[in-house]
């Protein structure tokens, strides 16, 4: 199975240093929660990891290879970023068909993932008619298209109802139990606390806490720990 390894990552936009010397590892069979305040550098880290932005220094790899060097990226990594890049005028099924075609995946896989995320009844509707939760489910379906070994999800619980949250939690736990690697960026601490094995907390572009969830939290709540370690880095930069 495939591990995520990030080492000494630096990324600046103009004079603004979004990520400074970030490094951590997410091992197969685990769910790693990536936490941090707004503007802390979580999304930038994920963008560099997924080859959408170039690092100024450092490395971000899947099984030792940068994302751009993966031969069949969809079969290794499934990712959900932001709202999933959905065209409002396209149907949910067509969105997945486009991605499956680009990834050279069999057409039947589209129906399989639609069924997996519970979106089959709405598959022929245009995306503009979807709720935020439905868009998230479709984005997760896209991430699962290639039966990946790694999931990288940015705020996947956004807009999900309680049943959807439970479904997502069970999906991630089962994915990790099968040996998959999950990197989960989220603001919903309670959700992360229920599903993560390990945490990476970033603040002002730096890693401010990193380790197994149980070791970091000990006998305190995750919220207390989070607010403690981000106390000096709170707020939008």
């Amino acid at each position: 199975m495939t591990a995520i390894r990030i080492e000494g990552l630096h990324k600046s936009y103009g004079g603004f240093e979004a990520v400074h010397d970030v490094g951590f590892t997410a091992r197969p069979g685990s769910v790693v929660g990536l936490l941090g305040p707004n503007g802390a550098g979580k999304s930038t880290t994920l963008h560099v990891l997924l080859g959408l932005a170039a690092a100024d220094a450092g490395s971000a790899t899947f099984g030792g290879r940068p994302y751009a060097d993966l031969e069949h990226p969809s079969r290794v990594v499934g990712a959900l970023l932001d709202a999933g890049g959905l065209h409002p005028g396209r149907t949910g099924r067509d969105h997945l068909r486009v991605l499956a075609t680009a990834a050279r995946l069999p057409a039947r896989r589209v129906d399989e993932v639609l069924d997996l995320v519970g979106m089959t009844p709405a598959a022929q509707r245009r995306v503009r008619t979807y709720s935020l939760g439905m868009k998230q489910r479709l984005g997760i379906a896209a991430a699962l298209l290639g039966r990946p070994e790694v999931l990288v999800l940015d705020e996947p619980a956004n807009g999900l109802d309680p049943a959807g949250m439970r479904w997502l939690r069970e999906l991630l736990r089962s994915f990790a139990a099968d040996g998959g690697t999950v990197l989960l960026a989220s603001h919903v601490l309670a959700e992360v606390a229920q599903v993560a094995d390990a945490l990476v907390v970033v603040g002002q572009g730096r890693v401010v806490a990193d380790g197994p969830l149980d070791d970091l939290v000990a006998d305190r709540s995750l919220e207390d720990v989070y607010l403690d370690v981000t106390a000096t880095t709170e707020g939008v930069r």
Partner: protein, 297 residues
Amino acid sequence: MFRAELLKLRTTRTPWIIGAVALAGMVLTQVLHLVLPRTLGALASLEGPGLTVGVQAPGAASDLVPGLAAIADLGSAEAQRGMLDLLGNGAGGAGSSGVTALCMLLLGVLAVTTDFRTGGIVPTALVVPDRLRVLAGKAGATAAVALVTGAALALLTAAGLVVAVGTTPGATLALGAGEALAVWGRGLVVLVLLTWLGLAVGTLVRGQVAAIVVVASLALVEPLVQAAALVLTGGTSAATSWLPLTLGALASTGQGAADLLGGTTAVSAWAALAGLTAWAAVLLGTAAVVFRRRDLA
């Protein structure tokens, strides 16, 4: 990637609307081709002592501007070549409706800027991290749509020509099959090159509205530059013939427009096609370099 990008275009309404507008523009152009000579004839018959209309009948048009007579005569090769023009530029390239050209430019622009606007470029780049493959897929898909649209436009022009010859007394087909096919062939290549110009502009500008403004401005400003150069140089400068949309018109139907306007440019259809290809290659190449280097998120 080509199939995926083609599927993207097929599964949204915009490319269909663009195709429909291009076809509607061509229908209008063909109707004008058919109606204009008859209107000129009717105006000429009204002309008498004390009445002078601005445009003269085909028979007397040679006194106005050399070449106009041939263009207004639907039995002439010049007029028939203009009717087959896929760009719908009007008789001898002089009408400059430019609807088809604008539609192809917009098709290229929207094929890439829609991805930037909706964020669809992110899942695309996640599936295919090689940016050049993504751009090549878009170029192939827009070219395919341009070719299909062009084929439909060719059918319309053929129908228009048949009606023109059939309803004009004494008119016969003045063009051989080879020449008709050459006009269509060059027209199809021009349509593809225009979509690629739009694709390049969209990739470089990224913002959808800004990119549309750029290509619309190009379509509006270029004829003005042409006219200004004509007036200032007395038609002795060929420099403005090398602007992209002018090259498209020249490549499609040849010298008709320049001759009609009194220009002395000597750009052949094939040279114009080569010039437009160079524009597309340079702009698309630049766009590819920028697209490859730029962060997508």
